[in-house]
């Protein structure tokens, strides 16, 4: 996937970190110290539809353009997460038990166009 840089307007992954101390959650979440949430943003022009990041090729882009030109009612494509990984948490539950859990699909690792 592509990570967003200053001059990029295309679909990319933006890094976003939630510091548990900053939001006042450090008293009940023991580890980690924050959540690398990240999110997807940017444009998905028609020729990029179905391209997960840079994995596809020039051929995919051309084929997409042909499909788009032939389609009667073209649809827009969205920039969405294409790869995610779990978040491991060690926290106190409501009964003050210490719980360790892995929450699936919480961290956005890569973005692409639908």
């Amino acid at each position: 996937g592509i990570n967003c840089s200053g001059d990029s307007r295309m679909c990319c992954r933006k890094e976003f970190f939630v510091d548990f101390k900053e939001i006042g959650w450090e008293d009940w979440i023991i580890q980690p110290e924050g959540y690398h949430m990240n999110y997807c943003a940017g444009l998905c022009p028609l020729h990029m539809a179905g391209i997960p990041g840079l994995a596809a090729s020039f051929h995919t882009a051309v084929l997409n353009l042909i499909k788009a030109n032939n389609a009667d009612a073209a649809v827009d494509s969205c920039c969405v997460p294409t790869q995610r990984r779990p978040l491991s948490l060690l926290y106190y539950d409501r009964d003050s038990n210490i719980v360790k859990t892995d929450i699936p699909d919480m961290i956005v690792d890569a973005c692409g166009c639908t």
Binding site: M37, Y39, A41, A73, V75, Y91, Y92, R94, S96
Partner: protein, 220 residues
């Protein structure tokens, strides 16, 4: 999305940066709480002290009874020992780390495997050579001898591991529980320590151990 519809991310992009941040934090909170099936954040009125937590973790070291032993024999306990850095001293090129295992009486534990974990923050691209020396001191702490020397090539920031099984085995065999590690770097080779790193990045040693059972004598 059908033609002309907004993608979810497009709506976010239309907001002012400060508003975007608030929305994302609210989303993160909501996402964590819903996945943990919590209606609201738990209200911790009496948080457990750090000491109590450490005590609980120490108790968890005794993980399971080893049932693989032959019938009629006493089962042996499998343990995992963790030792975090207790003190450290440094010069511009070298760092000394002292690890201490606070475990059972000397001689009662058999070390199966031990690994040293170091978080290295390299200053830039390229390969950074690091010399790791394992030093052992006698129980008085006065005489220090070198047990081994290893050269590592650190290429990027992250955790590096080193097998220190022999050194820790020899340590426990001699009744000592103190391991000293000396790290020597080239100039600007980065450092795994000491100031500026979060607790989670402190060096540590993890060892797998087994409780040594006394020999059983039978009278015939």
């Amino acid at each position: 999305a059908s033609k002309g519809m907004w993608c979810p991310a497009c709506r976010l992009a239309a907001l002012a940066p400060t508003m975007q941040r608030d929305v994302l934090i609210a989303l993160a909170k909501q996402s964590i709480l819903s996945k943990l099936r919590l209606p609201d954040r738990p209200n911790i009125t009496q948080p457990t002290s750090r000491e109590a937590l450490l005590m609980a973790l120490r108790r968890m070291r005794v993980q399971r009874l080893d049932t693989a032993t032959s019938p009629g024999m006493m089962p042996r306990l499998s343990l995992t020992l963790l030792s975090v850095l207790c003190t450290g001293s440094s010069t511009s090129r070298s760092v000394r780390l002292h690890f201490r295992f606070t475990q059972e009486p000397a001689g009662s534990t058999e070390i199966l495997q031990a690994t040293l974990y170091l978080f290295w923050a390299v200053p830039g691209p390229g390969t950074h050579p690091v010399t790791v020396r394992l030093l052992q001191s006698d129980p008085t702490g006065l005489n220090v001898t070198m047990a081994s020397e290893t050269r590592l090539e650190v290429q990027r920031t992250g955790w590096v591991t080193l097998d220190v099984s022999r050194a820790v085995q020899s340590l426990f065999g001699r009744g000592s529980q103190r391991l000293t590690v000396e790290l020597e770097v080239m100039e600007d080779g980065g450092s795994p320590l000491l100031a500026g790193h979060r607790d989670s990045h402190w060096p540590f040693v993890a060892a797998q151990a087994r409780a040594r059972m006394p020999h059983r004598l039978q009278r015939r």
